[in-house]
């Protein structure tokens, strides 16, 4: 296939992302929003593939689609009557909100296209093939400390979730149980 076909496929995915993200925000049914998010996540994974970031794409699918979205749907379905809830908040402020969003967008786009001096990697140093191995090496050497701390973050999330969502339990007083 030639590069034109790749471009067409890219814009197809981009359209899916934008469209489904709009559905997430606009839809009044929270289930529809959740399923819209599914397509957004998938589309973003495809963009990662285009960026030659295969590991991130896999992570996106496994963690976001396989985990977080499932959790989100669990949350929606476990909560009574949330499907009928009116999602509109009282303070909407569409005009200032839109103004701020668009100006930030314009600023970012302007910078990215005209004023950015992105750091570029020389061609001979660019990664070829899968990026899983370089990521693994970086995680185990340079970034070994952040890597270990990630497990502390996960642990505190584990403890916190268990505390907030577990069944009731007797409180302990000074005298013991």
């Amino acid at each position: 296939m030639n590069s034109l076909a790749y471009q067409i496929i890219f814009y197809l995915f981009a359209a899916i992302i934008v469209g489904s993200a709009a559905l997430v925000v606009i839809s009044k049914n929270i289930i529809h929003s959740a399923f819209g998010l599914l397509f957004t996540f998938f589309g973003v994974a495809a963009i990662y593939v285009y960026l030659n970031a295969d590991f991130i794409a896999v992570t996106q699918i496994v963690v976001y689609v396989g985990g977080i979205l499932v959790l989100l749907l669990f949350g929606v379905m476990l909560t009574n009557k949330i499907t009928q809830a009116d999602l509109k908040t009282e303070t909407l402020n569409p005009v200032p909100g839109l103004l701020i969003t668009l100006s930030v967008l314009a600023m970012l786009l302007y910078t990215f296209y005209f004023r950015a001096k992105w750091v570029t990697v020389p061609v001979d140093q660019q990664l070829r093939g899968t990026v899983v191995e370089p990521i693994g090496i970086a995680t185990m050497t340079t970034y070994v400390l952040p890597f270990e701390i990630v497990s502390i973050v996960l642990m505190v999330a584990l403890l916190g979730a268990a505390y907030i969502a577990r069944a009731d339990r007797k409180v302990q007083t000074k005298e013991g149980k």
Binding site: G136, I137, L158, R166
Partner: protein, 118 residues
């Protein structure tokens, strides 16, 4: 590089086409003779009991939460496992430390009855 993803893309396209095609064909060709029995909720042949919108225990949510956390742990193991031999003992120690911290958290949940189901 990106050519490697063509089969996946083809699979996505086939899945969409097949799904849309079969549903459309079924709607166009199938006979439509509905009665109240057919329209009722299908629950493996048993009469449905209660409403589908009953509130479910928060424990399911907890399980999903734990799933995500260990999901992320596995994701971190993947790039490590690919290079397992290169890292040798030091890589093993790093990964064991990583897993140990989470394991202690998991053990704590078990002891506290976070996964008990009664």
């Amino acid at each position: 590089m990106i050519e490697a993803y063509l089969p996946i893309f083809a699979m996505i396209v086939i899945a969409i086409v097949l799904g849309v095609l079969l549903l459309t064909l079924g709607r166009l060709l199938g006979p439509k003779r509905s009665n109240s029995e057919k329209m009722s909720t299908y629950e493996s042949g048993i009469e449905p009991v209660g409403t589908a919108k009953a509130r479910i225990s928060v424990k399911y949510y907890l399980v999903a939460m734990f799933f995500i956390i260990f999901d992320i742990e596995v994701i971190f193991m993947y790039p490590w496992a690919v290079n397992l031999r290169e890292f040798g003992v030091s890589g093993l120690v790093s990964m064991i430390t990583f897993a140990l911290l989470l394991l202690v958290g998991y053990f704590y949940i078990l002891k506290k009855g976070g996964l008990e189901w009664n």
